[in-house]
């Protein structure tokens, strides 16, 4: 299978704003490869460097050293983003637009034709179960509905790679289940999903391969089966890999 997401010795340092403070190292030589058609779980505790990695992949942050590419194109080129969809964590879309208008706006950015836009909007609203609310302004939506609109906007260009940053954060169990079902359907359609999360149960259910990152370093990578082979569960494996030692009661 072809590699569509690749990072090589990726290092990101953020300069401190305080005088004589050492720079904060967010990523320390991260090497990752994601192949076409797989659902890749990117795990790590808060502040591990998951979002920084995504920010580099999307061209929001320049790496201090190393390289990152999507579909063999350097991530700093806007064209590298033509075939990706991105759902950020906790985004509040333009409240004054309806879901349909929002999707139409993003479709214009991708340069889709009117007929293609209409067809995709119809399919996506069906996929995320928002047909009934497509004409309502987003400000009237629940959190779960807003997250599903986000998922629809990430899919408007029929992307080959979907980057999801904590897609179920803040959602109730039903909302989580719906998002999980959508990811499952995308997986069945052969889409590649790069999925940052710390919801281990979710990752275990939907991911083919998993990478665990801590303090900017890759600690483990492999299939869920390989990682949990020597542990009773993914949670135990995760805690051990990141070096967490439970406090005695």
């Amino acid at each position: 299978m072809s590699v569509i997401l690749k990072t090589e010795k990726l290092r990101v340092e953020f300069k401190s704003r305080e005088f004589r403070q050492a720079p904060k190292i967010a990523l320390r030589g991260l090497d990752l490869e994601v192949s076409a058609g797989e659902v890749f779980g990117f795990l790590g505790p808060n502040g591990a460097g998951k979002t920084t990695t995504i920010n580099v992949l999307l061209g929001f942050v320049q790496p201090t050293s190393g390289a990152a590419g999507l579909f063999g194109i350097d991530v700093r080129q806007p064209i590298a983003r033509q075939r990706i969809g991105y759902l950020p964590e906790m985004t509040y879309y333009y409240k004054f637009l309806s879901a349909e208008e929002l999707l139409r706006f993003y479709a214009k950015i991708f340069g889709l034709s009117r007929s293609e836009t209409d067809r995709r909007i119809e399919n996506l609203l069906k996929l995320v179960e928002l047909e009934h609310a497509s004409k309502r302004q987003i400000k009237t939506y629940s959190k779960g509905m807003q997250q599903r609109v986000g998922l629809a906007q990430a899919l408007i260009n029929n992307p080959d790679l979907l980057v999801l940053d904590e897609p179920t954060s803040g959602l109730d169990p039903v909302g989580r289940m719906k998002v999980r079902e959508i990811i499952q359907r995308l997986k069945n359609e052969g889409k590649t999903v790069f999925f940052a999360s710390h919801e281990l149960g979710e990752v275990e259910t939907v991911c083919d391969r998993v990478a665990i990152i801590n303090e900017g370093e890759l600690k483990a990578i492999g299939t869920v089966g390989e990682i949990v082979a020597q542990h009773p569960s993914l949670e135990k494996a995760f805690l051990e890999v990141i070096g967490y030692k439970p406090q005695p009661a």
């Binding site: 983003r81 990706i84 985004t91 879309y93 214009k108 260009n157």
Partner: protein
């Protein structure tokens, strides 16, 4: 270009779905209609005062709309985190700046059409005349001035942290330019070096918007129109300033972290 127009379309939708414009428009109508309904001191030329007041309110309202709409564009995208999915699309930061500028500018153009249409009706109700070309000239230059103000505010929104501080600074700057901009050279003459040179530099550096503001007098006193060649030159002058502010905004935004 399609991307830039798509971004502009969202800004225009935002303007007509928010209450700001309607509040200012209705307020202007109410104040002007109330003032027009009474004739203080039985002055036969009272319509001139009403026209002056109406144009002043139009200028204030348009500046309020232009500055507040522009000042919140990029900070709101950042705060609501919509900037991230937007920049994750095949879109450059320069396109984003141009889209926001165009959206705010076109939105202000629509606002001016409404305001000047009301002004025309108000003036015609008393004077029974429609000097449409004069109104067009004044509205057109007014719109060009708003272009400079919008570009300046867009740059400010990338430099200053809070939209409120940016809006306040832009209001103060524009008010200063409109009120004292033309006298800066006279002020410089009365100063000693090196302050004199500094004030001179300031005089030549600032965009002189005050003469377009003074166009109100032409309409108020029914003076003849200015030559179209002067309108063309003034347009070029104002577009040059807008381009400088936009270029600076693009440079600042290119270096700015979005996360």
């Amino acid at each position: 270009m399609r991307t830039v127009f798509a971004l502009a379309g969202v800004v225009i939708k935002e303007l007509y779905r928010r209450k700001d414009f309607y509040v200012l428009f209705i307020l202007t109508i109410v104040i002007c209609v109330v003032m027009a309904s009474v004739n203080i001191y039985n002055d036969t030329e009272i319509i001139r005062y009403i026209k002056a007041l109406c144009l002043l309110l139009i200028w204030i309202s348009s500046l309020v709309i232009a500055i507040t709409t522009t000042a919140r564009q990029i900070p709101a995208e950042r705060e609501q985190r919509t900037l991230l999915p937007l920049l994750a699309k095949p879109l450059t930061r320069t396109q984003l700046i141009f889209g926001k500028f165009l959206g705010c500018w076109l939105a202000c153009g629509l606002v001016l059409v409404c305001f000047y249409a009301f002004f025309g009706v108000l003036a015609a109700s008393r004077e029974h005349a429609w000097p449409l070309l004069n109104y067009f000239q004044a509205a057109f230059l007014h719109w060009m001035v708003l272009g400079v103000v919008i570009a300046m505010t867009l740059l400010g929104s990338l430099v200053f942290a809070a939209p409120s501080s940016n809006a306040t600074i832009c209001f103060v700057l524009v008010t200063m330019i409109l009120c004292v901009g033309r006298y800066l050279d006279e002020v410089a003459l009365k100063m000693h070096e090196p302050l004199r040179s500094l004030v001179y530099v300031l005089y030549f550096a600032i965009p002189h918007l005050e003469w377009a503001f003074g166009m109100r007098n032409l309409i108020v006193h029914d003076w003849p129109m200015i030559g179209w060649n002067f309108v063309g030159l003034a347009t070029l002058y104002l577009l040059a300033y807008a381009a400088i502010f936009l270029a600076a905004a693009c440079l600042v935004f290119r270096r700015k972290a979005v996360n």
